[in-house]
């Protein structure tokens, strides 16, 4: 069974990325990147990032000491949030519009598998995200003179975090079929995933049914935490300020991404495969 799954993964990866005649996927990717331009994603997110950097510099410079460290923490934290919100909005609205305008139906009518369409969309959204990420990381490097290794890990971690958010936003749009619900679901998923660390740590599961009925909400959260990724370990601003002394977090980030991103992709394959047009 495992060998079969592995073979299927290899085939999809080979067809999606290694096949030189894979023009249709490239078209999807180019189309999404162009959509980013058309929707003014890059312009609006980059402008918001510039404003957040200015505000961070103003706040950071009011500190009596450790001004540079404060600017670094403020700009990294705020830019991460702006970037994630921007990319979530773009994915949900863009994908929903593709369904509304029958673009997906048009693509399906061509000789391209549904899995390739999903891979094409994910690649397109991630490339769009990278277009925003590159100037963001450069700006952070120039403005905050952060620890280089810390910045490298922070950037890798942010790319992986955005991959999880993008794949979840695609899945939410596919399942819910409504842009507004998908945006709310994706942002709630992001916030809950970032709070999961404390839920896992602080909530103790009740030992008897009586205790359970008195602690329904905390117990439900604890049970739910099983299906949520631990995004609270991703992209910590302290890596930029103090560097990385313990590589455990990085290992967890890589392992978590290795498990969760394929999980969401396969769920999207399954849901999109079952969709009737």
């Amino acid at each position: 069974m495992l060998i079969k799954i592995f073979k299927i993964c290899l085939t999809i990866a080979e067809e999606s990325f290694l096949n030189k005649n894979n023009q249709k996927m490239k078209v999807i990717i180019n189309y999404i990147i162009l959509n980013g331009v058309r929707d003014r994603l890059y312009l609006s997110v980059l402008l918001t990032l510039i404003i957040s950097f200015i505000v961070s510099i103003i706040f950071g410079s009011t500190f009596l000491i450790e001004k540079q460290e404060s600017v670094s923490a403020f700009s990294a934290g705020s830019s991460r949030l702006i970037f994630i919100i921007g990319i979530t909005l773009f994915v949900c609205l863009n994908l929903h519009r593709s369904f509304e305008n029958k673009e997906i139906e048009f693509i399906i009518s061509k000789s391209i598998s549904r899995q390739k369409i999903i891979i094409g969309y994910i690649s397109g959204y991630i490339l769009s995200a990278t277009i925003i990420l590159i100037p963001l990381i450069l700006a952070l490097f120039i403005l905050t003179k952060s620890d280089l290794i810390g910045l490298l890990y922070w950037s890798i971690s942010l790319v992986l975090e955005s991959l999880i958010v993008v794949t979840f936003a695609i899945l939410a749009t596919l399942i819910l079929g409504n842009a507004f619900s998908a945006i709310l679901a994706s942002l709630s998923f992001y916030i809950l995933s970032r709070m999961m660390g404390i839920f896992v740590y602080a909530i103790e599961l009740p030992k008897s049914y009586g205790d359970f009925s008195n602690n329904i909400l905390p117990s439900t959260l604890k049970i739910l935490s099983v299906v949520f990724p631990r995004l609270d370990i991703y992209s910590k601003s302290q890596w930029l300020t103090y560097g990385i002394s313990d590589f455990t977090d990085i290992k967890i980030v890589l392992l978590q991404s290795l498990v969760y991103i394929p999980l969401l992709i396969f769920m999207s394959f399954y849901d999109f495969g079952k969709k009737q047009f």
Binding site: F63, L64, E69, S70, G77, M195, S237
Partner: protein, 255 residues
């Protein structure tokens, strides 16, 4: 109901009556709650640790800097700054400890405590600042010893509690890190000298000189000059009081 009222005049009267009744209610409402004003607490009670961890959303450094900025600007009301004597220093202490739990490496909070919050007009409040600096430095004494020095100086001068200052100075002197400047070892001597215990002051400095002579501790020439000056100065001063260093209990053992 409206439909059953026949004339327009009657309808207007109903509306006017309702308006007057509600207006009277509004006046009663204002009268009952006029004493409830906005809460002008300068420093709110700190939240608990778990809540802080949850609202950090995984980025504790960002939250730390935001809360530290808030702590730095607390008391900044639109009409100016509230005087430090009006601050609740117990709350301030709890906030500083909470911020230390989020980021124990930063020097922002001890810096604020030492150079800003220690300027309070209420001398009694200083105990919270001294305790905080002690707690902050004790987390990592080899790197944070400077804040313990500040705690010693505050306790010795502004707070004027030599007993507390001495306890902190001994803690600083007892640390095993040889990279610390020699004056961290001398601080208890200065405090003993201030309280008038010349024996102890003399013994501490003499012990340091002995350690240098037995090559246990290398002391720079300038430091040696200072210590010799300290001994000579104290001896000259104490000669008038007929002080005999050889009668100090530790003197015979160490020399």
């Amino acid at each position: 109901m409206i439909l059953s009222i026949s004339s327009k005049q009657e309808l207007d009267r109903v509306f006017l009556g309702t308006f007057i009744i509600l207006f009277v209610f509004q006046i009663f409402f204002w009268f009952s709650y006029r004493d409830i004003g906005p809460d002008f607490k300068i420093i709110e009670n700190p939240p608990n640790k778990k809540f802080i961890k949850a609202i950090a959303l995984g980025d504790e450094e960002f939250l730390f800097r935001s809360l530290a900025l808030r702590l730095q600007n607390s008391g900044d009301i639109f009409a100016g700054f509230a005087p430090l004597k009006n601050y609740d220093y117990k709350n301030l202490y709890d906030w500083m400890i909470l911020l230390d739990n989020i980021n124990p490496n930063s020097n922002v909070v001890p810096h604020l405590a030492t150079y800003y919050y220690s300027l309070t007009q209420n001398k009694k409040d200083l105990v919270h600042i001294i305790d905080y600096l002690d707690s902050h430095a004790s987390r990592n004494l080899s790197q944070k010893w400077l804040w313990l020095t500040h705690a010693v100086l505050l306790a010795n001068s502004k707070y004027d509690d030599q007993e507390k200052a001495l306890a902190l100075a001994k803690k600083l002197a007892d640390n095993s890190n040889d990279d610390l400047p020699i004056w961290t070892k001398q601080l208890p001597a200065f405090i003993y000298a201030r309280v008038g215990d010349s024996c102890m002051a003399f013994t501490i400095i003499k012990n340091l000189v002995d350690e240098n002579e037995s090559k246990k501790r290398l002391i720079t020439e300038q430091e040696m000059e200072f210590m010799k000056h300290f001994i000579e100065y104290r001896l000259n001063k104490l000669k008038s009081e007929k002080f005999d260093p050889t009668k100090c209990p530790d003197y015979k053992k160490k020399s």
